[in-house]
């Protein structure tokens, strides 16, 4: 009886033929609308009380916006929104790519040490930055921390790749475990820097470590956007290969996929997306694991549909989290990482409980 009814349930859910393409397209359309909606909402949310209706009315009546409104909209909220969209999309897509690469729904750039490496770079820059010659400090300026975090993330990925690749083949198991070790090591080194940091540096580290979109400027955006856009546009070309890889590396090769080359591209894609994101917005966790998981439930694991949908949902979710961060203790702001962790942590536990068998590997 029980097995019969669950059988019928499965058939109903998939309109008998097991083809989820149409559902994925519908989901893409729905998420596009959602992203547009939360973007507008985000532009009209904030301490200065400017509403979109006001702006629209001003424009409609042919007047130009007053300077304050202009500045708030164009130089504060718009870059912040653009940054949220880019970073959210980058985190979700790189999570999905990493999970496809590792054939494990728990794999995530946060988990394999990429974010931790980036964090170490940033902390080192904050603490050691004061020791640098003044001339050099002036030269690198405010971009020292982002730069260091990008380098840290990239170095972590490369190290991970070298450790877990032998004779041109990457072992997924070794890579996962090495990632955990790398994250622990980065954490320990970061701890040392925290220990020797002074009070002002500590506040910097803490705020940066929890992640925030607050510092978004057009200039920061211009540093991060090319890398993120490059990574996002590489991702669709990985989709078919990632699908084949779910059957294992050998079978993917039998299906005609150039497995080693594809893995190198996937790793570079993830490093670029995560490195650039962490550099401009700090350690924002859980987007990379929550978004792909939800979408696999909704539209299935086919990466041709998973990746574009993940970009949209990741962006929408991060913008929502940013709004919450701005509203909860207004006029002050919560670090956005606190919001994503508060929502994402329990969700992650739920995934773990549902997938307990995966951990018995």
């Amino acid at each position: 009886m029980v097995s019969l009814s669950s059988d019928a349930h499965v058939r109903l859910r998939h309109a008998v033929d097991g083809d989820r393409e149409n559902r994925a397209r519908a989901c893409f359309a729905g998420l596009s609308v959602l992203l547009g909606f939360v973007s507008l909402l985000s532009l009209t949310t904030g301490a200065s009380g400017i509403s979109l209706a006001d702006v629209a009315r001003t424009w409609a009546s042919g007047e130009s916006l007053d300077t304050v409104t202009r500045t708030v909209l164009l130089d504060i909220r718009l870059p912040r929104l653009a940054m949220g969209i880019l970073v959210g999309a980058a985190l979700a897509v790189s999570g999905a790519v990493m999970q496809g690469l590792f054939r494990n729904p728990l794999a995530d750039p946060g988990l394999v040490g990429v974010s931790a490496g980036a964090g170490l770079g940033a902390t080192a820059a904050i603490v050691l930055g004061g020791l640098l010659p003044l001339a050099f400090r002036d030269f690198v300026g405010t971009y020292m921390v982002p730069l260091a975090s990008f380098i840290g993330g990239w170095a972590a990925t490369m190290l991970l790749y070298v450790v877990s690749t032998r004779g041109g083949r990457t072992s997924v198991g070794v890579m996962l475990l090495a990632g955990i070790a790398l994250a622990a090591l980065s954490g320990a080194l970061t701890g040392i820097f925290v220990y020797i940091a002074d009070d002002a540096q500590l506040r910097d580290i803490q705020f940066w470590g929890l992640g925030s979109l607050a510092g978004a400027t057009w200039f920061k955006l211009s540093i991060a956007a090319p890398l993120i856009l490059l990574a996002l546009s590489a991702a669709p070309f990985l989709a078919r290969a990632l699908n084949a890889l779910t059957l294992g590396e050998a079978t993917a090769a039998h299906l005609g996929i150039e497995v080693q080359r594809m893995k190198s591209i996937a790793i570079l894609t993830v490093a670029a997306a995560v490195g650039a994101s962490v550099a401009v917005s700090g350690g924002i966790g859980f987007i990379g694991i929550v978004v792909p998981h939800l979408l696999r439930l909704a539209v299935g694991p086919d990466h041709r549909f998973l990746l574009p949908n993940a970009a949209l949902l990741g962006a929408a979710l991060l913008i929502c989290a940013d709004m919450i961060a701005r509203i909860v203790i207004a006029p002050a702001e919560l670090p956005i990482g606190i919001v994503t962790a508060t929502i994402g942590g329990p969700f992650f536990l739920w995934i773990l409980l549902r997938n307990r068998s995966l951990l018995d590997m």
Binding site: V10, D19, T251, A253, G256, I257, R296
Partner: protein, 261 residues
């Protein structure tokens, strides 16, 4: 023709294959048999470029190491001994992966046709992970069939390389799968299958490669390879081969075997 010349494979400082030669003709079902650990899977993995080896593997006279991945994929499909699928794909989505290399103009109905061929019509919407082991094995076979659906394209045979394709199947489906393999060969394609069951091998194989301890100790049609002496040496126990009275088909009963101390 799929052929291997003097294949040597070393893993963990042990010689797993010690100079194996084999040839498989298109139009024939070629079976690789031998005791557990004799190197059957390793030989197949050398043929499919999964592991490093010394020696040469030739497909229609061309060294396979000089062929591109997509080119090989259009010429041969591989069924592994066991397959895990990492994410919750439906049966249809798994079978469709066989069309990945896009043999031009592959039509959308092929996955359903392939599923019907392996006796799984109507399974398209089921989740792969929720199927029994035997059903999963047949879904993978359907995927493999999709990849080389036409046994011959552009005058060249296409190959099915199967590692123990019937080991987890009931007797009805064992016959069904062996008939699919035979039909592929009769239509001009090639089949190389690692086989566990000597009776099914005797029934369906045109050519047998018998391995023992990493060497090929006999090859030829089953009626010549399956002799008391050869099989007894290969499997390390005393075996008696029989033939049916009418059509002289070879068969083997475990009842007549004795373990040698």
């Amino acid at each position: 023709m799929f052929s291997a010349e003097n294949i040597v494979v070393r893993l963990d400082r042990r010689d797993i294959l010690r100079g194996v030669d084999m040839q498989a003709q298109a139009g024939h079902v070629t079976a690789i048999v031998g005791h557990n650990g004799s190197g059957k899977t390793t030989l197949l993995r050398a043929l499919t470029q999964d592991i490093g080896y010394s020696g040469r593997v030739l497909l229609d006279g061309r060294d396979v190491t000089e062929m591109k991945g997509w080119e090989l994929a259009s010429r041969r499909a591989v069924l592994p001994q066991a397959s895990r699928v990492a994410f919750p794909f439906t049966v249809l989505e798994v079978v469709r992966l066989g069309l990945l290399t896009g043999a031009a103009g592959a039509d959308d109905s092929l996955p359903s046709k392939a599923l019907a061929r392996v006796g799984l019509a109507g399974f398209e919407g089921r989740f792969y992970q929720e199927l029994s082991g035997g059903e999963q094995q047949r879904v993978q076979l359907a995927r493999v069939l999709c990849q080389v659906w036409e046994p011959v394209t552009g005058g060249a045979p296409r190959w099915l390389l199967l590692d123990e394709p019937v080991s987890s199947l009931d007797i009805g489906h064992q016959l069904q799968v062996m008939e699919i393999a035979t039909a592929h060969a009769r239509a001009g394609g090639g089949v190389i299958a690692v086989m566990h069951d000597l009776n099914l091998t005797a029934m369906f194989a045109d050519h047998v490669v018998l391995l023992a301890d990493g060497r090929c100790i006999a090859s030829g049609p089953p009626s010549l390879v399956f002799t008391d002496e050869t099989l007894s040496t290969a499997y390390g126990c005393s075996l008696r081969v029989n033939t049916t009275p009418g059509d002289r088909a070879t068969f083997l009963l475990p009842h007549t075997a004795h373990r040698v101390a």
